[in-house]
Point group: C2
Chain length 120, copies 2
């Protein structure tokens, strides 16, 4: 691929979350070093507290959310840039009335997701 | 940094281009593996034919452009995903009436830009 619309990529349900789906826009078969994914969290949706073994570089495209990173909580909006270091506990909650949409880039590396607890 | 608006990052003029500026949203001091940059090409602006030693993973945020990759030319729009392999000749021309804005992620690695010719 050289150019494609994000709408051409199939969506996957992210079963760890509530109302979360994901598209792998540039995947491991193509990317030499890092992957591009697009996430959608529906209104009322969330991702529980968890850790990854890889860092996340994110860019918010649409909507509003509360994101916990370590012991801090951030309210994010379109145009915000988010960096989540490898191994740091993080979680997401859509706090708006529209889908919360963001790009999430990760290195092409092994990753294990560990849920820290079930967020109420 | 954990969260910041893209507007908080200083812009740099990209002297290789015409009407092109760039922000390093997540830079080498912070990123373990890859960098996130945001480019703006003003209406009438362009980047000449060039190569990089690193691949580009891009996501179009605003505007319309013609992008040459190798011997092909693509018209791109918001939501389009662009992959430019390392070493492949590429160029950009804003063909719209608004700024052409895109994210461009590159691996954290040495890069030399080589201009192939001056595009008319």
């Amino acid at each position: 691929m050289a150019v494609k619309p994000y709408t051409s990529v199939p969506e996957q349900v992210v079963s760890l979350g509530k109302g979360v789906r994901m598209q792998v826009l540039i995947g491991p078969e193509e990317a030499p070093h890092f992957l591009m994914r697009r996430f959608v969290i529906e209104p009322g949706g969330s991702m529980p507290k968890h850790t990854n073994q890889v860092e996340h570089e994110q860019f918010v495209l649409q909507g509003r959310a509360r994101i916990g990173i370590g012991d801090k909580v951030y309210e994010v909006k379109p145009g915000d840039v988010v960096f989540i270091p490898a191994g740091v506990v993080h979680w997401y909650e859509n706090v708006g009335e529209e889908p919360f949409v963001f790009l999430c880039m990760v290195p092409k590396a092994e990753d294990t997701i560990t849920v820290v607890d079930a967020k109420e």
